[in-house]
């Protein structure tokens, strides 16, 4: 071969070219060698991604995640200092986690969605939304979400209907997110106040509210006692939640399963009118004017201040009361007389959502949904998928311990994050924690106080039930159309009929807009 080359050298000599073979090193090559080199280069460029996949995937990858500052500080501690770094180390991924307040996430996501639409780097690869992000469907990697959900279904079993309806668009048949958790929204009440007031109002002291009718009858007494019912009637999230829970319990809602607007269509019209009249009477008999200026923080603050006797919220009221109690005990206060401890013990939650004429239906209070922006580099996309799967599998404390990031998602969140893949932490393990809850114990409270939260799997529904949480449902929620409808009737500004007709017109416009974009089903 060498001989051959040397024989032809004189012919090729004039075709010699300078080629760089290493940094600062050049050598002369013949035209044939040059063509061979160029061919090899082109071949490597064309087939390299397929041949060298493993090598490429092993390169350092950065996964950038944005999520809320969790209500439970130890959860962020676990996520930021244990789970994310250890998972990153194990998988050769640099994980960057940034936290913002939950109210700030939609604005940041809107800016990033604009960048995704423009084909630019969004700034984060994955965001955790606290409501179903249906309006972002076109900017997210729906296929990656489907892969994660199907893999998790194979590994740990079913994805609960609440999560399915909060992340799956039946019109496009795409998943616009992967729900990792939901937070139940039970009714909170003050135990002694309820017992005393129910004895007067119902003729017997009951343990707590079971029906909406109970709330109204006992609420009258509670207001007489100086502790009114505190359910917001303003343009904020908690108001939107409890009013929907009430509507669903009255057998009505914004839409049917197919995405048709139904609240003013018989037989739902009469049910909506009944719900409107009930809320008007509930306000007049049991509440106070402050509910029209309600904020997301009001139910916590008013309840913990001892002003109101009833509120609808996540277990954050109970947990805050318990935190204050634990602080009091640390300061050396006597558990028998400490006001903080007594308040924590007396803060109770209902076993289920209050019952209305059509059933006892409640809502999720927070719907944790991660989404991955579309067009992320392949390695980042795969890392995001694996991160999500491992995060959800880490609900189970034994899995988390085995992987090296204990105590796992359920324990770290102090049972605030409830799994949407129900078996991600088996029921027995959930109950084992809730029956001997360390947070309750540290507060001098009953250790099994929150065990009834388990029933949320039976009564918690999605926003937009019985239909899916679509882009239209999201816009109706965030423009407070239903909140205003109820508030105007409660204030006596509109009759129930006027308020209903005005709201239905607005809701139809919103639904029509999203139908035209092909994201929402239904015809009317």
């Amino acid at each position: 071969m060498r001989r051959g080359v040397s024989e032809n050298m004189s012919d090729d000599r004039q075709e010699l070219r300078w080629v760089r073979v290493a940094e600062g090193k050049w050598r002369l090559v013949t035209r044939r060698e040059f063509l061979r080199l160029v061919g090899a280069g082109l071949g490597a460029a064309a087939f390299g991604p397929f041949v060298f996949t493993e090598k490429t995937a092993a390169q350092p990858v950065t996964l950038r995640i944005l999520q809320w500052r969790h209500f439970v500080p130890p959860y962020d501690e676990w996520f930021d200092k244990v789970f994310a770094p250890k998972w990153g180390e194990k998988n050769g991924v640099r994980v960057v986690v940034e936290h913002v307040g939950l109210a700030e996430i939609p604005a940041i996501a809107a800016g990033e969605a604009a960048r995704v639409a423009a084909g630019a780097d969004p700034g984060h690869d994955m965001i955790q939304y606290l409501t179903p992000p249906a309006t972002l469907e076109r900017q997210v990697d729906t296929e990656a979400h489907r892969e994660v959900i199907e893999e998790l279904k194979r590994k740990v079993g079913p994805y609960i209907p609440l999560a399915e309806k909060s992340t799956f668009n039946p019109v496009t048949r795409r998943y616009f997110g992967v729900s990792d958790n939901f937070v139940p929204d039970p009714m909170h009440y003050r135990g002694w106040m309820w017992r005393e007031a129910s004895a007067k109002a119902l003729g017997r002291a009951t343990a707590g509210p079971v029906t909406w009718d109970d709330v109204r009858k006992v609420g009258r007494e509670l207001r007489r006692m100086g502790h009114p019912v505190g359910l917001g009637l303003s343009q904020e999230i908690d108001t939107g939640m409890w009013l929907r829970a009430l509507m669903y319990s009255w057998g009505t809602g914004e839409q049917d399963e197919g995405g048709n607007v139904i609240l003013d269509v018989p037989p739902y019209r009469q049910r909506t009118l009944d719900a409107l009249k009930f809320v008007r009477d509930l306000y007049n008999e049991t509440m106070f004017a402050g509910v029209f200026a309600w904020t997301a923080a009001s139910n916590n603050e008013e309840f913990l201040a001892g002003r109101i006797s009833i509120a609808m919220n996540a277990i954050s009221i109970t947990r805050t009361a318990q935190t204050l109690a634990a602080q009091a005990l640390k300061r050396g206060e006597d558990p028998k007389t400490s006001k903080a401890v007594l308040l924590a013990r007396d803060t109770l939650i209902t076993e289920r959502a209050p019952q209305g004429p059509a059933g006892a239906r409640g809502l999720e209070h927070v719907m944790g949904v991660y989404f991955i922006w579309r067009n992320r580099p392949r390695a980042v996309r795969e890392a995001a998928k694996k991160f999500l799967m491992d995060l959800i599998l880490s609900y189970d404390p034994d899995v988390a311990a085995r992987e090296g990031w204990p105590p796992g998602k359920f324990h770290a969140s102090q049972a605030y994050d409830y799994p949407t893949f129900e078996n991600a932490i088996p029921k027995a393990k959930r109950l084992a924690y809730l029956r001997n809850d360390p947070v309750s114990r540290a507060a001098g409270d009953r250790p099994d106080k929150l065990v009834t939260i388990e029933t949320a799997y039976e009564w918690a529904h999605n926003v937009g039930w019985p239909g899916p949480s679509s882009a239209a449902v999201d816009e109706v929620f965030n423009t407070w159309i239903l909140n205003v409808m109820f508030a105007r009737v409660a204030q006596g500004i509109d009759t129930p009929e006027q308020a209903l007709d005005a709201a239905a017109r607005q809701i139809r416009r919103v639904f029509q807009k999203w139908r035209e974009q092909g994201l929402v089903g239904g015809r009317r």
Partner: protein, 287 residues
């Protein structure tokens, strides 16, 4: 005679009393938020959340726990430093652009200058809530996302139009004869501008400095959208983002942070208030 004097005294007393009453009410109204911040910043949570307690004063001994939280559990010092850095840079850029722009519009373009000035001012009125989405793309294209440079670049889009309009009016109030005299004395146009006009425009410049710095320090939407790294946030975003957990507001640390952040601005205003007011009224520029 004595009666008349007594009546005069009575009227003067009434006048002074009335003024004091109006001034007192005004001061109470304006100072109340600061007093509330100050009291809440040092109040114990158990005192703060007890509705029976007097909300306007301490019912339990004051505490430093909220201040301690702000400085040890959050990156408050970082946020203040970031705010100062962005503020100073924005003030510099604003002056660099708005001074020549305002001067040119007031001196060289006649009636068109005034129209252009109004046009620029109208740009200032476009709300950031509409602009942040297209600007997010600009920031991304320039690879400035999650850096303070994004804010240093974007904030002048708010401050420069207003500052130009403000300075334009101010330069108009300075008689051109002064510059012409300087030109006759041998100064160039630039020399006349720097040595004669600018010193007379100091109240206007101070107004622009304070306005630009305050806008940079309090702006929320752009700061929220373009910077998400906790250590790179400005105080207007860092405080609410880091001291609100879900639906629980840490009122003590929130008020402590708000108070601490407002002190430097209040001190700045105190020292330059007269000139700041003169800058906005443009009166007395050449007194």
């Amino acid at each position: 005679m004595a009666d008349r004097r007594r009546r005069g005294d009575w009227r003067r007393g009434l006048r002074i009393g009335g003024r004091a009453l109006i001034l007192g009410a005004f001061c109470t109204f304006t100072a109340f938020p600061f007093a509330w911040m100050l009291i809440t910043a040092f109040k114990r949570n158990s005192d703060l959340y007890n509705p029976v307690n007097n909300p306007f004063w301490f019912n339990e001994p004051p505490t430093l726990e909220h201040l301690e939280y702000v400085f040890t559990k959050t990156l408050f010092a970082n946020w203040i430093a970031n705010t100062a850095l962005v503020g100073v840079a924005v003030v510099g850029i604003t002056l660099l652009l708005a001074l020549p722009a305002g001067y040119s519009l007031s001196r060289f373009l006649g009636a068109w200058g005034a129209r252009l000035g109004v046009g620029m001012f109208l740009v200032y009125l476009v709300p950031p809530t509409l602009l942040f989405i297209p600007l997010a793309r600009v920031v991304s294209e320039l690879r400035l996302h999650n850096t303070l440079w994004s804010l240093i670049l974007i904030y002048p889009t708010i401050t420069v139009p207003f500052a130009t309009w403000l300075l334009m009016g101010f330069f108009k109030s300075i008689p051109p004869e002064l510059e012409e005299q300087a030109l006759v004395d041998g100064y160039s146009r630039m020399g006349a501008f720097l040595r004669v006009t600018l010193p007379l425009a100091v109240p206007g410049i101070i107004a622009v400095v304070i306005f630009s710095f305050t806008i940079s320090a309090q702006e929320f939407v752009y700061a929220l959208s373009f910077v998400t790294n906790v250590a790179r946030k400005t105080v207007s975003v860092g405080v609410p983002a880091d001291m609100v957990r879900g639906d629980i507001f840490d009122w003590g640390p929130l008020m402590a942070s708000a108070f601490l952040a407002s002190v430097p601005v209040a001190v700045l205003y105190y020292f330059v208030m007269d000139k700041f007011v003169r800058g906005f009224t443009t009166a007395g520029a050449i007194r």
